[in-house]
Amino acid sequence: MADVHAHHAPGEHYLNSPKGLKSWLLTVDHKRIGVMYLWSVLAAFFLGGIMALLVRIELLSPKQTIMTAEAYNQVFTLHGAIMVFLFIIPSVPAALGNFVLPLMLGAKDVAFPRLNLVSLYLYWVGAAMALTTIFFGGIDTGWTFYTPYSTSTGGAVGLVALAVFVAGFSSIFTGVNFIATIHKLRAPGQGWFQLPLFVWSMYATALIQVMATPVLGITVLLLFMERLFHVGIFDPALGGDPVLFQHFFWFYSHPAVYIMIVPGFAIISEIIPVFSKKTIFGYRAIAFSSIAIAIVGFLVWGHHMFISGQSTLAGAIFSFLTFLVAIPSAVKVFNWLATMYRGSIDLKAPMLYAISFLMLFSIGGLTGIYLGALAVDIHLHDTYFIVAHFHYVMMGGTVIAFLGGLHYWWPKMFGRMYNERLAQIGCALVFIGFNVTFFTQFLLGTRGMPRRYYNYLPQFQELHQISTVGSWILGAGLFLTAAYLLATFRKPMDAEMNPWGGKTLEWEAQSPPITQNFDFDPVLKHGPYDYRPERPKLDEPVHHG
């Protein structure tokens, strides 16, 4: 470790050498690509967030508050499409994962650095196509594009379908890259069970990305062809079957739920041991449960269609499999809890986010039980209950974990520490605001308020107003977070190499890392979460179970 900086001028790192816009746009450095992805997904988060705030303001009163029904339908559609395709799906793998994963393996880069850059460019092209639709008549189908509404409505549905098609390839490329990287570029001594659990989760995610995303590509391409050439696959007027579209769509989009949440698990599995200063409980259970989720997650798409008219038998099978897939998620929560038991718990911002995750994701997961239970789903399907449920999983789960990861790796990525006090206040505001916004929506749903409603019955107004006030608290927390994170760039680099005492390899690189990541050839000397003062020798297995 003594010669870490030996071959490099002090103060030289991936951010400042080489310099210039061109060196960034043509880079093959996974860290630079990760950082460019990071700013891109954060921009998407900002846009999608503004749309969410607009939706909530519109719902302050029934009928028109600030916009027309047509505008409202476009705004909630863009909110969903931007958040899912341009923010959450690439947020952890393509932004944070790109940066951290090769470092965790002690590698210089991902296996296919140029493919990595292509992935970023495809993301940009897809994002640009999706956003230009605002000027071409917009899109009002909801992010789910259900036919035959989507084949018969006006606007730029075809363009968005193509945008999703293109962005899908960026996701596939990231997945392919990660699978190859994990197989081939691990440090000497780093067997599969010495991998950080972040890597296991990224592996599971990559499998789903590679296997499921092509189906989405085919589906949106068929939708595009249906609109342009009237091929008659989904449109009943042409002899097609609109429910077939739902099968195709959810065959991707349910696994996509796991593309979104498994990376959340990835981050939590890093933060909790580090801030409990204790080895992870049930390493293998957590690792294998990610793979189990990736596999069983392919077999539950029909639970989005319990009232679509699909057969009772199909409903029963999908319901049963849905309950099965709940178990690995529950196991993870118990494992994280057990990791905290007798730990040395440090409540810094990343850990506060991890604890928020445990609570919010538990609510998200537990409310899924109502929806998996066939009879209860009849009442709750397509109401605000489902809106609340998936926001607890997607935002309370993935986005909270993403924010935790951002705070955890921020000093590594940019070499700067943020103001801890402000970070704690920001986290508290996000937690409170989130619950006020979305817990009320469970109640709206059980009382029968349908989703995607511009106008609503007067008895729902009070809960809608509470929810809207919550969205302002949530927004305030996120703006505060953005402010103190950006403020770190106004001061010199002050972050230590390993501010949290992490045991994984990325903490052995300098902060921020040099372009080649390490000045030495990293060799694994201990397990990723080994906090024993006296560690066993190299060849002894670190984990077993």
Binding site: D140, P148, L366
Partner: protein, 313 residues
Amino acid sequence: MTWLRDWMMGPQASTLAPNIDNLFMFISAVNTFFFVLIVGLILVFVKKYRRRSPNEITPHITHNQTLEIIWSVLPLFILIGIFFWGFHGYVVAQISPANSIEIQVTAKKWVWQFEYPDGMRTLNDIHVPVNRPVRLVMNSEDVIHSFFVPAFRIKKDVLPNRYTEAWFHATRPGVYQVLCTEYCGKGHSDMLAKIHVDDDATYQKWLVEGDEEMKKMPLKELGQLVYENKGCATCHSLDGTRGQGPTWKGVFGQTRQFADGSSAVADENYIRESVLDPQKHIVQGYEPIMPTYQGLMRPRELLGAIEYIKSLK
């Protein structure tokens, strides 16, 4: 706990509701237990094991097989139990009782149209008797809609290319809200209807006297509605062309020649007889195929049909 259930789920007004709500409350109890357990453990651990010095040494606990098996298998059993309960309720909600009243539902942007067995049609508003099962056979004329009655705990998508069905057995008289729950565009949130659950006497009266709107309708318009809705249009033209039956155009006041050689002037009583007892006199050159409408038409509807025929000069 009834107050809590009502506070969360709203009133129960069908035979399906209690079972669904009981399962809902059971899941709520299970969830509350696990959520309190998780949050409780977090709070206890955070308080008890809060870092006091940077050099604290923690025990190296890698796993505990017994514990892990317990917390995997125990929730699995609970979930399988919930699965069967939910499955049972779902099957019950899929199969309508044999003695159901059948109502056809047609959805289109952004209205609900209902049609009774006797051909009466209503818009965004239906009456059903209390304590009788009602089966809804549903179809859409454009995009997918979804028929949702919160108080009955029923919901089913309404598709353009096939029929779907739902049923309910209302247990309390009252007026219940119907909402569309599959996004269908600009008017989605205004695609509402009302179900009036009447006691038997009120329902019978409504069946005889018909829809409020139809009561107010001028006779001629009502007659036109009857012509369109009750199947007259299938055989009788309005423009003089020959169908399965004679055209209605100009028929009023004409002398009709019958197959048995007799004849009569088509006046009000002749038309009434043709509707209620069509086999009595068959117009020459036509087959005796018209069914009787005895009991299928309200008195005012018959009057309307007569007025309508009169107007077709």
